[in-house]
Amino acid sequence: MTDMTSQATPSPDEKLDSASARRARIMGGVLIALALLVLFGLNVTPGEVATFRLTTPRDAIQVGNLVVPGGPFNMIAAALLAFLGVRQFLRGGAKWTNLSLGIGLAILVMAFLVWATAGKSFSLTGMLQATMVRAVPIALGGLAGVLSERVAVVNIAIEGMLLAGAFTGALIGSLLGGWVGMFAAILVGGGFGMLLAALVVTYRMDQIIAGVVINLFVLGVTSYVSSQVFSEYRHLNNAPTFRAFKIPLLGDIPVIGPMLFNQNLFVYGALILVAISTYYLFHTKNGLRARAVGEHPRAADTLGVDVYRTRYIHVTLGGMVAGFGGAWFTLGSVGRFDENMTNGRGYIGLAAMIFGRWHPVGALSAALIFGFADSIQQKLALLNTPIPSEFLAMAPYIATIIVVAGLIGRSKPPAANGTPYTKE
């Protein structure tokens, strides 16, 4: 073996230029900037306290208000942020980076709330309750997206499915009552899911075009009927709503009770659906098959899993979930349909899905963030903060961009997402 030479004796401590280390450093910088922001931008007049009301006079169990001394709180917040930032700089790692950013943003939000509320008060419980309510259609939209994208069908049509659900809920609900209305909404949502599946699976239409078109179509039909028919026959657009019902005992727990256990059918429904879908997707036979179809349809096919059927079923299921979410707008909220009343919530649901990494619980969490931002903004508008309300309204969207860019830029959709499958 004369012509053979062995190579490379290791030199131990080389400096490696790794992407995650770079990212950790950037995040460190961001966190330190946030610390400075809290320190100088959100400084509270000394002695002022922020009062968060936890119960209303009508609640069964009364607890005192949460009173936070503004100045000290925000000093501590700034210090924590700075600590996290410095830590990132010194020894940030892949796992820690995301966690630190998450904690950092949470601290920032708290510091901001304390700053905005200093010297005033508002109902924290009310805000959390509203958070939950506002998150419902987004979470259900996101969940619909998860179900269909897990089998690799991109679902831009969530918006249209929500709108169709809202419309059907109002129309059928007015004629035959809330429950029938709700089931009709689910069916119609499922119908549009099936239509999407037919267009993309059977007719091989581009998935995004199919989604956009369904949105256009639903918007057209519902607006048309609403202005052509509902304006004349008002009784067709006057549905009963599902009211909140308090779950005994649990509903009386301060803060948590009103938020989770004193809500209407749709809130409970969303939570249950998220739980069921998580179980379904990750712990059942059919869930495994569905995910396989989304990741590697041909592999699934060779094992006797019917790819087309699986796609049909899940996109339809997604449509049904979206139809249920759509019914929230009418049967769960205002009892009547209004043109384009979903107002882009389906697209936000799509964002929640991506934000939530194609996981039902992730989608729900993302939806809660949107809901939180939505309700916080309304509270702040009443508090007369010097920040223009438009900027408060923007905050969740900006935060989403930051998080998507910083946190999950690399999160991966199901491998086959968006690609049609041809058998032969």
Binding site: Y203, M205, V212, I214, L216, G220, G344, A393, I401
Partner: protein, 383 residues
Amino acid sequence: MSSGPDLKEVNERMRGLMARTTHGRDDFEDLVIVPLFAVVVALIFGALIMLATAVDLPTIGRSFVALAVGSVGSLSAWSETLTASIPLVLAGLGLGLGFRAGLFNIGAEGQLLMGGLAAVVAGFTLAGLPWIIHLPLTLLIGALVGALYAAIAGFLKATTGAHEVISTIMLNLISYRLLDWLLRQPFIQREGRSDPISKDVPPSAELPRILDFIDVNLRLHAGIFVMLAAVAFVYWMLFRSKIGFAFRASGENPDAANYAGMNAAFIIVLAMGTAGALAGLAGATQVTGVLGRASPGFSAGIGFDAIAVALLGRSHPVGILFAGILFGALEAGGRQMQVSAGVSIDLIGIIQALIIIFIAAPLLVRAIFPWGFRKRTKRVGDA
């Protein structure tokens, strides 16, 4: 090195290779018959929907007449059709260009708003310049701001991989709020008003109406030339220019583009920027040609309709031009339909959607009308 048996034979073979493949019947079916079917079928469906909502037959008849008359039946109808199509085509070109480069930009709406607002601001702050400078400058600033706004999403995608669908949706939502706020700043807000509305664009920055010598109510403005120029420019850019080659390559196969040494980050930012510039230009022509000022939501969903226009036009500049005019015609005709037949203009949305369905899913049209088409042969032969 040609291992050259016979120079003549080699030349012969080269000539053969360079002969263009002629358009076959398949192309003809795809480009002419399918769209025609689509429009006809969509109209029939529209009639069925009207029937289903208890509109009587004479009214349906009148509404179709009104649709035709209102869109192409008179000079003023043409004027309205083209006026409506200008921003649709411009924004659609931007989106189509993005699609070609593999970017699913949903953000035309926001880019259009920001570009339009910038044009308004440029319009009244630069008042006093001669129009020959003022107008182009105003449009340019609108395009530039649209480009910058879009480039945010491009930049984020290029540097962090943030999905452009999310970031453009968010940028749209942000733009509404930003517009509301900006319109209330003293610098922009009209004197004496407390609601969000901007100052007026002075005449020297307005796109002149080109048919007002016939009738003052003809709104068609010089933006139509901007639109045509943009169609030509995008065509050139996509199919003739070097950068367009890179756009298309990264859209079709990003791995191959990367392999070929195309700078993905640069392409993403530039393609987004160009798309944003066109959307911004759409906004700018809208405020300088039609609206004269900016108010909340002045985009009126054009940015979203433009997605449909771009898809319908198959991301091809000429296709987008026709798709935009078709959408403009439906809009103008739809208005007439509501006025003279009392049928809600929302019907138009349905018809638009149906047209796209039938065009985008030729298999579906073929399934519905098997007799209209020759049976498809598979791929073209190989070696």
